[in-house]
């Protein structure tokens, strides 16, 4: 297990390294100059050259990349804005704030949004899927299956504004979505996020319903499940002890991927509801050609996805003894 983890972590670091190179190359490959955005109305060749020099953009790309890596690992005291301890992504071109601090500022929003939605869609989605599989072929199953099919084909940018229009602006039943610190006031934290949670988790829940149903139905046809029935074990017992156990593998796999990508920033959701999370930050960094911020967001999101990939693989070992013991 330890060897497995070490191997996977090394692999993840290599991927992050490659990703940072790709990001660098793409950034310089695009014909956009961050200096043009920064100098404003007083632009002239001298001021642009000056900005390039201050940002270090006049150095060769390889040298800039080397500085980036060095700062990331060892930190830097070269920045005019102040010292930048490791992991140092530098200062945002646009806001002049340290990128790491900005990431950490935005993280609670994304984490709150993701985890709250995940709790909702796991409970609703898996619950409905299990119910449909248990009552396979009945009206309950047919309704759940058809409903899940329709809902999972909806999109956030359709459902989100619709929910806002009806539940917030027309009826005023709910607060306008906003992020409030949990530690400040748990109640406003909750009421501010409830609409984004519902919208985000509705679509996911539909997908998890379909997934859980099909996984359970597939498992229930396994021969070892039939054996358990032939031993006289009850339908409930076989459903939850035998079929559910096997269904966990595909469910955990998809959940790991979903959670990783959501924690890297639910871009559309955050935009739709105006929540200042990592997803908004990602868009902003591209918009302002903000290289340090772009690198920070990219690497952070990728780290989340890789991390949850490793967690999923480790979870297999707990679920399936064939993985654990081979």
């Amino acid at each position: 297990m330890l060897r497995f983890l070490v191997r996977r972590i090394i692999g993840a670091v290599v991927i992050l390294f490659l990703l940072s190179i790709v990001t660098f190359v793409l950034f310089f490959g695009v014909p956009r100059d961050p200096a043009l955005l920064m100098c404003g109305k007083t632009c002239n060749p001298d001021s642009i050259a000056n900005i390039h020099h201050v940002l270090g953009l006049d150095k060769p790309i390889t040298e800039q990349y080397w500085i980036f890596l060095h700062n990331l690992v060892a930190g830097s005291s070269q920045f005019a804005q102040g010292p930048c301890p490791a992991p140092c992504f530098g200062y945002s071109y646009h806001t002049n704030d340290p990128v790491w601090n900005t990431l950490m500022d935005r993280l609670p929003t994304t984490v709150s949004l993701t985890l709250g939605a995940a709790v909702c869609f796991l409970i609703v989605g898996l619950g409905t899927g299990l119910l449909a599989a248990w009552r396979r072929g009945t009206m309950v199953d047919k309704t759940a299956t058809a409903g899940a099919m329709v809902v999972s084909s909806l999109q956030i940018y359709f459902l989100g504004p619709l929910a806002l229009a009806i539940l917030v602006y027309q009826t005023h039943w709910f607060d306008k979505p906003a992020y409030n610190n949990f530690t400040g006031d748990p109640l406003t934290w909750f009421t501010g996020l409830i609409i984004p949670w519902v919208v985000l988790s509705t679509i996911f829940a539909a997908q998890y319903t379909r997934m859980a149903r099909s996984a359970m139905i597939e498992q229930l046809q396994e021969e070892h499940v039939r054996t358990a029935r032939a031993k006289g074990m009850s339908r409930q017992y076989v459903f939850f002890r035998y079929a559910w156990r096997g269904s966990l593998i595909p469910i955990v796999t998809i959940f790991g991927i979903d959670l990783g990508s959501l924690l890297g920033g639910a871009i559309i959701t955050e935009y739709t509801f105006g929540l200042p999370g990592l997803g908004q930050l990602a868009v902003q960094s591209v918009f302002f050609s903000d290289l340090p911020l772009l690198l920070g967001v990219m690497l952070f999101a990728a780290t989340m996805i890789l991390l949850f990939n490793i967690v999923v693989d480790a979870a297999y070992a707990f679920i399936d003894p064939r993985v654990r013991l081979s």
Partner: protein
Amino acid sequence: MSTPLLSVRDLHVSFKTEDGVVRAVDGLSFDLERGRTLGIVGESGSGKSVTNLTVLGLHNPMFTTVEGEILLDGRELTTARESELEKLRGNKVAMIFQDPLTALSPYYTVGRQIAEPYMKHNGASKKDAWERAVEMLGKVGIPNPRQRAKDYPHQFSGGMRQRAMIAMALVCDPDLLIADEPTTALDVTVQAQILDLLKDLQQEFGSGIIFITHDLGVIADMADDIMVMYAGGAVERGTTEEVLRSPQHPYTWGLLNSMPRLDSDPGAQLSPIPGTPPSLLNPPSGCRFHPRCTFQDRVAGTGRCTTERPAIGSGRASACHLSADQKRTIFIEEIKPRLG
């Protein structure tokens, strides 16, 4: 005579599918006495496995229709409630499946899987059930059973898995054991060991056994009685001696004739039964076997085989319109010489 252990009377099992109704079992009757072994032989799709899943009530009630009677110890099973069936399964009636790798759960230890039905049916504590599982593993010849009970099925060899499967089936000392091709997935040497084990355990436990196979060699070794099935019904029955020494039905002749023999010329062709098993969605009229039968023109009364389904009696019997004399002479003069 006392009531038979299992008595199946005019059983019909059909499945609803998208293409229509499949008549998997169509008018099957047979009896099994306590302590005896009935071998059911037939090709895939002849209804032998379906019959036995229906005995346990393991068919899907949504898509399956069951008519007829299944009496276990005189008790009707086709109309029994699910909760009553649960009490019988694994307790009075147990089943051994073909492929022990897929038939055992990969997620639980072998010991736990054996202990489960014992806890359920005997109300035993976890500890007692585990002890019983270890004891059963020892009985079926697993060395070091206390250690091996903690292993998962994938850590067992194929033969050991089937032994564990047998231990699981016998843990509650069932009256009836249904073995569905229990040796098909195993090596020949392991196969012989498993068959010996089953015979020994039958002596010890006194269960009645239904042994399903398509291997006539295995059945000759195991069964007291044989029932040959074709397209959802019995075509021949009798004691093992009778059916194998003087078979009466053209289908049984075909089965015997298609078996490879050790003493035959290595270059010689096998002689399979011509044609393929019929679709049970739309079975042939009259005798189900007639499209593949080469003897129908000898039956008195033209076209009888295509219009009239031959009945099969109890005891020594076969479902064929040929007269008893014809069956005897055709077998002795035309079939037996080819069997060598």
